[in-house]
């Protein structure tokens, strides 16, 4: 009976670890699909407009966005070599990474929330390796950790 209890605890620990690893894998799948979609979108836009956007209108990945209200007073100190910045805010802010921006632009095809159309699922599975397609199908059908 004691061995039985120990094995139950071991099984519980493994199930939790697997759940966490599935969640991390799903996050990486979303990241790869969103990134590939972004590259595809920009290439198509440039081909259609037959020109590249000017450098001061784009933000190159990787980046983060610090988002705050317009009333916030921001004090910024910069080292001479621009290797170090110190920002002081007098009000709250939020920080988001580039993957979050791509999700909000719809480039993750709704996978992050498990709401995917059949067409989007088809595109998503075409952007990952065969071994990952079952995971994408699962996510598209709503089982997102």
């Amino acid at each position: 009976a004691q061995e039985c209890e120990d094995l139950k605890a071991e099984r519980q620990r493994r199930q939790e670890r697997i759940k966490q690893k599935q969640s991390q894998l799903q996050e990486l799948i979303v990241q790869q699909i969103a990134f590939k979609n972004l590259v595809q979108r920009n290439r198509e836009v440039e081909q259609q407009s037959k020109r590249s956007p000017s450098a001061n209108t784009i933000i190159q990945l990787p980046f983060i966005i610090i988002n705050t209200s317009k009333k916030t007073i921001i004090d910024c100190s910069i080292s001479n070599d621009k290797f170090e910045y110190l920002f002081n805010f007098d009000s709250m802010f939020e920080i988001h990474d580039d993957v979050e921006v791509l999700k909000r632009l719809g480039l993750a095809l709704g996978l992050e929330s498990g709401r995917c159309s059949a067409e989007q699922m088809k595109i998503a599975t075409s952007l990952v390796s065969k071994a990952l397609q079952p995971y994408v199908t699962e996510m598209a059908q709503g089982s997102v950790n």
Partner: protein, 33 residues
Amino acid sequence: SSLTPSTAYTYRFTGSPSKELSDINQMIRQGGV
């Protein structure tokens, strides 16, 4: 900069999962509680 590492949250570009930023945002929202 009065950064006392024991009470600072960190995130690494391209290296850290997005969740670490969510933790930072939550900490800021809660006013550092």
